[in-house]
Each structure stands twice: as structure tokens, then as C-alpha cells.
Symmetry: C2
Subunit: 368 residues, 2 copies
């Protein structure tokens, strides 16, 4: 198996502006190519697009817009974790030898129709993520005595961290009290507990070991991959834990030969504040009953180890771009390029993304 590295990154600002998905793909791809040493577009032999947008043939459209004539191009969709799925697919193409250099670009428009699944409707399932977000929150509070303040800390921390991310949707700091007093959406969720749909694009360039050395002075290696789909819909099982994350983490740690204690920095999927607490537990960084305390300690000591770019709550959640933006953050952290967000001496990082109440998860371990 060929080793695979990330050699370039580029993003657009995440915003509530109406976004054109083709333009967002192009803009972030262009920024990504600019970040690479002398990248000859003729050598890019894969272009993968990640989006939930209904437009078709975007892989070819982005390729033509960029002046790339790749071997492989197509679009990938898996709701919130489309982006990490596309990055892992690029890894597979390069590792298998079918491709040498792959551009992965994700984008979403804030005006994209909501992700209501006809299949859920037909089964009488919840039509909106807010309901499972609320049930997960209620369950966590009951089972682990998690307080409303601890949940609010997740949001306050991530809003604060997003202040140093120039691409973030949010540019307002939010105090714990502001979160706790924000508009109530359900019994257990307030508006500031929720990530926001928005427009945004994010792109990375991946390469085989041989090509990576010429394209980047600081290639970042994908050393661990884990993925798991346990179901498609909210089930009782989900309330207890996020099994897909635990199983995916096991695979990723095994492949990379690291343990959770080795992780210096992680981007985790905080679609709702409770998700960050659950994710860091399933990843083995803490445990569910200590997760509130863990996050409080991070907040009080200004330790940005979890979600340094502001997570989904602070940075915004343009579905197709999210997983790629998470991967960019960890890449830049391991390259020491994260300016005021920089974690000191970060050598090993983790990306965690998931979809639909944690019914599926994708995890990558990155190392410099």
C-alpha cells in the first residue's frame, strides 16, 4: 500500500450568504492549488466532490472550471460526513495505485433544501435533526448528570475558538450565560447549542508518497482510518452511546498504531453541544461521566485541543465542506500554520465526523 499525504489546503469563508455551489467548489479549490509548490494541474488525476447539493456532474464541472482533466471524477454524498468519506475515498484511490494526486473539494449552499429523508418520513421517524439532538441531550443529562452549564460550555468554548478562525461563520464570542439564555428550541436544546447550516467550501490535495515530497515541504500523513455505519435512522441503541464512533475509532487507532492518549489535537463533530461530549468519550479521550468536567477544564485553561477552529457550532456546518474543513484544521495544526489557534508541539491529530444521530462515523488519524 502506498502512503498517502495531504499536501495542500484551501477554504472559503463560511457564511449565511446565498452560495453558489459551483463557485464555492472553484474558489476553495483554487485556494488549495495556490497553497501547493508548483502544482502542475496536468498531474492531478482525481477530482472528488463532496456535497448534498442536488446538482449533478459536479466532479466534471469543477474539473473543467479548474482546467484539470482527471482520470477519476465524481460526487460523493453521505449527509454530514460526505467530506470525510470523500477524503477517505481519495486515500483509497492513491493507496491502490489507481491515482497519484487527488483534489477533494466540498461545498454546500445555505439555500440548499433541508435534508429531510423521505425514508424517515415513511417510517414515522423524526424529520429534523433537532429532535435527535434533543433526545441525546436529555439522555446524557439523565445518565451522566451532565448539567446545562456543562453543555453551554461546549458552545461558549467553540464560539470563542472560532473568533480566531478567519473562515468561521460565527464572529461573536458567546458567554456561558448567553448560551443558557438563548432561544429555547426544545425542552433540552437552545439555539446556541446547535450548529448552523451555512454556505462554504473547503478543498484539500492528497498525493502518493513519491509525489508528496515534491508538492509540499510539510506533507501530513494519513496514518489511520476507521469508518462504521450501524444504521440509517435514530434507534434506541443510539441513545446509549455512539457505537459507530467507538468502532471507527478502534479501527483508526489500530491502523495508525496510536492510542487516544497520543492525540494532541482533534476536530470532532459537534452538530449539537452534547455531540462533542459524546464524541470525546467514544474516542477514549475522556469518559461520558467526566466529559462535562473535561470540557470545563479546557475552557478554563484556554486549551484548544478539541475543535480549535470552533467546531461545527462556531465555524458553521456547510454539510459537504465540513469534513474537509475539519481535515484542513488538523493538517494546518500539524504543520504549525494555525496562527493564534496553534496547539504547541502538535504531532498527532484526529478528525471525527458523523452523520444522522451518529448512525455512521468516519475517523482519520493524521501525523506530521
Amino acid at each position: 500500500m502506498n502512503k498517502v499525504a495531504i499536501v495542500g489546503t484551501g477554504q472559503t469563508k463560511f457564511s449565511k450568504n446565498e452560495g453558489n455551489v459551483e463557485k464555492l467548489l472553484f474558489e476553495s479549490s483554487n485556494n488549495c492549488i495556490q497553497s501547493v509548490n508548483d502544482c502542475n494541474l496536468n498531474n492531478i488525476d482525481g477530482v472528488l466532490v463532496s456535497t448534498n447539493n442536488n446538482s449533478k456532474y459536479l466532479g466534471a464541472i469543477l474539473s473543467e472550471s479548474m482546467g484539470i482533466q482527471p482520470k477519476i471524477s465524481h460526487s460523493i454524498e453521505h449527509l454530514c460526513s460526505s467530506g470525510t468519506n470523500a477524503v477517505i475515498s481519495a486515500y483509497a484511490y492513491i493507496s491502490s495505485g489507481l491515482s497519484d494526486i487527488v483534489l477533494v473539494s466540498g461545498a454546500e449552499s445555505a439555500t440548499n433544501p433541508g435534508q429531510v429523508l423521505e425514508w424517515d418520513k415513511s417510517r414515522g421517524e423524526f424529520e429534523h435533526p433537532i429532535y435527535w439532538g434533543s433526545m441525546l441531550t436529555k439522555s446524557h443529562k439523565r445518565k451522566f448528570q451532565t448539567t446545562e452549564e456543562e453543555l453551554a460550555i461546549v458552545s461558549a468554548k467553540n464560539h470563542k475558538q472560532a473568533m480566531d478562525n478567519p473562515f468561521a461563520y460565527s464572529n461573536e464570542p458567546r458567554t456561558i450565560l448567553e448560551v443558557m439564555n438563548s432561544k429555547q428550541i426544545t425542552d433540552d436544546l437552545r439555539i446556541l447549542d446547535c450548529s448552523r447550516s451555512c454556505s462554504g467550501g473547503a478543498s484539500i490535495l492528497l498525493a502518493s508518497e513519491e509525489k508528496a515530497r515534491t508538492l509540499s515541504d510539510q506533507p501530513i500523513w494519513i496514518t489511520g482510518i476507521g469508518q462504521k455505519t450501524t444504521s440509517a435512522s435514530f434507534t434506541k441503541n443510539i441513545l446509549e452511546d455512539i457505537k459507530s464512533t467507538r468502532l471507527a475509532a478502534d479501527s483508526a487507532y489500530k491502523m495508525s498504531k496510536i492510542e487516544s492518549k497520543n492525540i494532541d489535537v482533534a476536530e470532532v463533530h459537534d452538530a449539537f453541544s452534547v455531540c462533542e461530549l459524546m464524541a470525546i468519550s467514544e474516542l477514549g479521550i475522556t469518559s461520558n461521566d467526566k466529559s462535562g468536567e473535561f470540557v470545563r477544564e479546557l475552557f478554563n485553561t484556554e486549551n484548544r485541543m478539541i475543535n480549535p477552529r470552533g467546531g461545527l457550532i462556531g465555524a458553521g456546518h456547510p454539510l459537504g465542506a465540513t469534513g474537509i474543513s475539519q481535515t484542513i484544521e488538523i493538517t494546518n495544526q500539524l504543520q504549525g500554520k494555525s496562527d493564534r489557534r496553534q496547539i504547541s508541539n502538535a504531532e498527532t491529530g484526529l478528525v471525527h465526523n458523523m452523520s444522522a444521530a451518529g448512525t455512521s462515523s468516519s475517523i482519520m488519524v493524521l501525523e506530521n
Copy 2:
């Protein structure tokens, strides 16, 4: 690199009935699993869906419906060639070692909204494939003195061959005269020159060499892969030839170490009758100026070498299922399981699929 084999196949009938994409995915997947020796669903670690349908999270929905909890699942879209892209993606996952056994399932509903690209509209491009089909036909007639009768033979041949395909959309033989007298759509195209959108599902199971030996007595090996995207929209370049097919074929032949003369049977993308003539030329099976004559000879001698299942014109064109159905046909031919459609002593086969006026192509060489 791990070798990759096709170890199971399953389809639904292609029809004009309104199809539910989730049901079509399930039905063909179920038929596929039934075709495999003692397949333990717990061992399937990838589920890839190919479709142009706007429903989301179908990889997880199909997995839950089937009782599979894979590592990898997502949807892949690349217009007409979504299916071959998904098969090649599965190849990459297995070859890279990220996965051992992958189910690839494609489906389309006849009620799916048409594939009009907003991007084409914004550029003043043709909104419907019929226009580029017509221009390709006009160009071929002018450049290679191709006659209307030769074009009609493609359709008559494929309709005839579809009569022996129980899953085909068409169940009517069509004479050359019937094709030539069918309803005129443009100056250069009649209705029977065109493939039909329809409902249908097709699934295959792929496995690593180690797993393939236990799952099938007749694994069929993917020995060559070639892909190319030259642009996204119809360009002058396209009128001259289908460059993406020629370049993809070069890669596939090189990887598999075969030449075009070694091909015993091929499924090629005949969205319009002229496409079959162009495809067999770009694949090196004949040349453009002799392609009409070549197809006439096949028709007169009842040689089913090209499009034995009836091609897109005879079998129907449910976009997401097409490439997978083509792959199934070649697999079954190489296994000697094609009943009345069987090519004798078929050992090497080829699958050719393309999208949007041949702006991208995917090719696979299969061997038994």
C-alpha cells in the same frame, strides 16, 4: 495491490413503472446476495450506492434495510457513468486494503427529475442530451459517410439482443425499417435511436482475492481500469471523437496487458445509436469509417459480441444502474451463465460507460 474479483450479481427488471429507489436498491442487492455462496452479511464492510436520485444517505439506508453494518458507505453520482464509477471505487477500497467485501448497488426511478444541469443553462449550453446526440450523429454521417441504415442497424441489433435479456426494458424486436420510420425527434435522430430513461436496479458484490475464493466458484477478475474526464460540457472537441474513451481505453489495456483484439465481448454505452459506432472505434475494435460495416456484419451473422444484453437502447437506461448492469452482463458472460445470450468461449470482456456527450468515460477489463 490486492487483486479484486466480482463474486455476485443481481438485478431487477428495467421498466417504465414508477420505481422507488430504496426498494430497487434493496431488491437487486437481495438478488445479488442470493447469488453468492453462504454470504455472511457481517463480512460485508462496504456498501456503495450509485444513483442520480436526490434522496440522501442511501448507503446507510440500504445497509440498514439489508442488515449490513459496513465500515464504508456512501452514494456516488457522475450522471450516466455513476455505476462504473462506484464499481471502480469499490475496487480501490479493496485493492488498498481498507475493505475486503463491498456491495455496489445502483438504482434509478423513471420518475426521477431529468438531468438538466443548471451550470449548462448558465452557459447557454444544450439542456437535453438529445441535442448532442443529434450533433454527434450529423457529424458522423458527414465525416464517415455513415448511412441512416447503418445507424438503424445498431438499434435493431440491440433491440433484438434485448429479447433474450429477461431484465430488459424493451421486449419488442424492431426491424431496421421500423427504426428508420420511427418518430423523428431531430433532423438526425429518431425515437428508436435513443435509449430510454426507466426504473431499474443492479447490484454486484466485489471481494479481495482471499475472500473471493470462498464466495464464488467462478470469481471474475477486474484486470484493467481506465477513466478520463476531458470536460463537463459539449465542446467542439467532442464532435471529432470521444477522446475520453480513447484515453481511458489506453489506460485499461495497459493495466490489464491486453489489446483490443483480445476482447471477446463488450458492453458499450449506446445512449444514442451513433454512440455505439463511436465507442467501438475509440476502443480499437474497429475504426470510425468501418464501424457501420462492422455492426452490419454482427447483425447479419447474429454475433452478439457488442452489447449482448441489448445495450442501453434495448435494455433501458436507469442511469445509476446502467454501469452496474453492464458489468453484470460481462461477468455472467465470462462465467458462461448468459443462457441464450451466451458468447462462446468468452474469456476477456470489456465494460465501457460514459457521461454527457462522452465528456467522461470509465472502462474496465474483466477476465475469468
